[in-house]
C-alpha cells in the first residue's frame, strides 16, 4: 500500500503502471484500521485471524464496500 497526495495522483500512477484502481482510504481511516488490526500483534496470544475475524475488523473500521468483502 502506497501513499499519495491526491486521487488524481493515484489515477495517474495506476494508469502508467497498468494497474487496477483498487481503493483508497484517508490517513485517519487507516489509523483506525491499524489500531484494530495491529493492537495485539506483539502478544503471545495472537495467532493470526480467521476470515470471520478479518471481516469483523473491516466492519468495525467502517470498511463495508464490496472491495472489503471476504
Amino acid at each position: 500500500m502506497l501513499l499519495f497526495r491526491s486521487e488524481e495522483m493515484v489515477d495517474r500512477w495506476c494508469k502508467r503502471n497498468g494497474l487496477e484502481h483498487g481503493e483508497f482510504l484517508t490517513i485517519d481511516q487507516v489509523w483506525e484500521l491499524s489500531k484494530l488490526w495491529y493492537h495485539n500483534r506483539l502478544s503471545m496470544d495472537f495467532h493470526g485471524r480467521n476470515l470471520e475475524q478479518v471481516a469483523e475488523v473491516f466492519k468495525q473500521a467502517g470498511l463495508t464496500s464490496k472491495f472489503w468483502y471476504i
Partner: protein, 156 residues
C-alpha cells in the same frame, strides 16, 4: 513443550526482537534463544511463513516482513521509542505505533510526486507537525482486495 506451543513462542520472540532491536532475529539467534538446533528453528520459521505469521525471503530463512515491521529499508520510516523502524507500506507505517502502543513520528515519501512528508502520532491521535493540514489530503492506496493480498505480498 509441544511443537505448537514452541511455534507460537518463536513467533512471539521474532516480533519482540523486531520491536526491541528494529531487526528480525536470524535463525541462529532464535535457535540459541530456545536452545534448539538451527534445523529445528528453520522448520519453525518455514511453518510460521506458511501460516502467514511472518514472511521469509524466497528460498531462505531470512525474515523479510513481520507485519508491520520490515526487515529491509523502505520509504516509510517510523521513529518511536528512541528507535527508527522501517514499515512495509503506508498502512504498516501506522501499524507500528499501533502495535507498540506509543507515540511516533513518521517520515514517508509520497508515490508519484516524490514529496517527503511527516506524520505524527501523539496520545493515540494523528497530529500535524507541519501545520499545513497536509495529512488531511493524504490517501493510502489499496491496489488489491483482501482475497488477493497474499498472492504477491511484496506488491500488495
Amino acid at each position: 513443550m509441544n511443537n505448537e506451543t514452541l511455534l507460537w513462542q518463536v513467533r512471539h520472540f521474532v516480533y519482540n526482537h523486531f520491536a526491541d532491536t528494529i531487526h528480525p532475529p536470524s535463525v541462529e539467534q532464535t535457535a540459541q534463544h530456545f536452545n534448539i538446533s538451527t534445523e529445528q528453528a528453520g522448520e519453525l520459521y518455514k511453518e510460521l511463513n506458511d501460516r502467514h505469521s511472518f514472511f521469509l525471503e524466497p528460498e531462505t530463512l531470512t525474515i523479510r516482513m513481520a507485519n508491520p515491521f520490515s526487515g529491509l529499508p523502505t520509504d516509510f520510516k517510523v521513529h518511536a521509542n528512541g528507535k527508527t523502524y522501517f514499515a512495509n507500506c503506508a498502512w504498516d507505517m501506522l501499524g507500528i505505533p499501533a502495535a507498540l502502543h506509543c507515540d511516533a513520528v513518521i517520515d514517508a515519501v509520497l508515490t508519484e510526486s516524490g514529496e517527503s512528508v511527516q506524520i505524527e502520532i501523539r496520545d493515540g491521535k494523528i497530529t500535524d507537525p507541519s501545520g499545513t493540514s497536509l495529512q488531511d489530503q493524504l490517501l493510502v492506496h489499496f491496489p488489491l482486495p483482501f482475497a488477493r493480498w497474499y498472492d504477491d505480498l511484496v506488491f500488495t
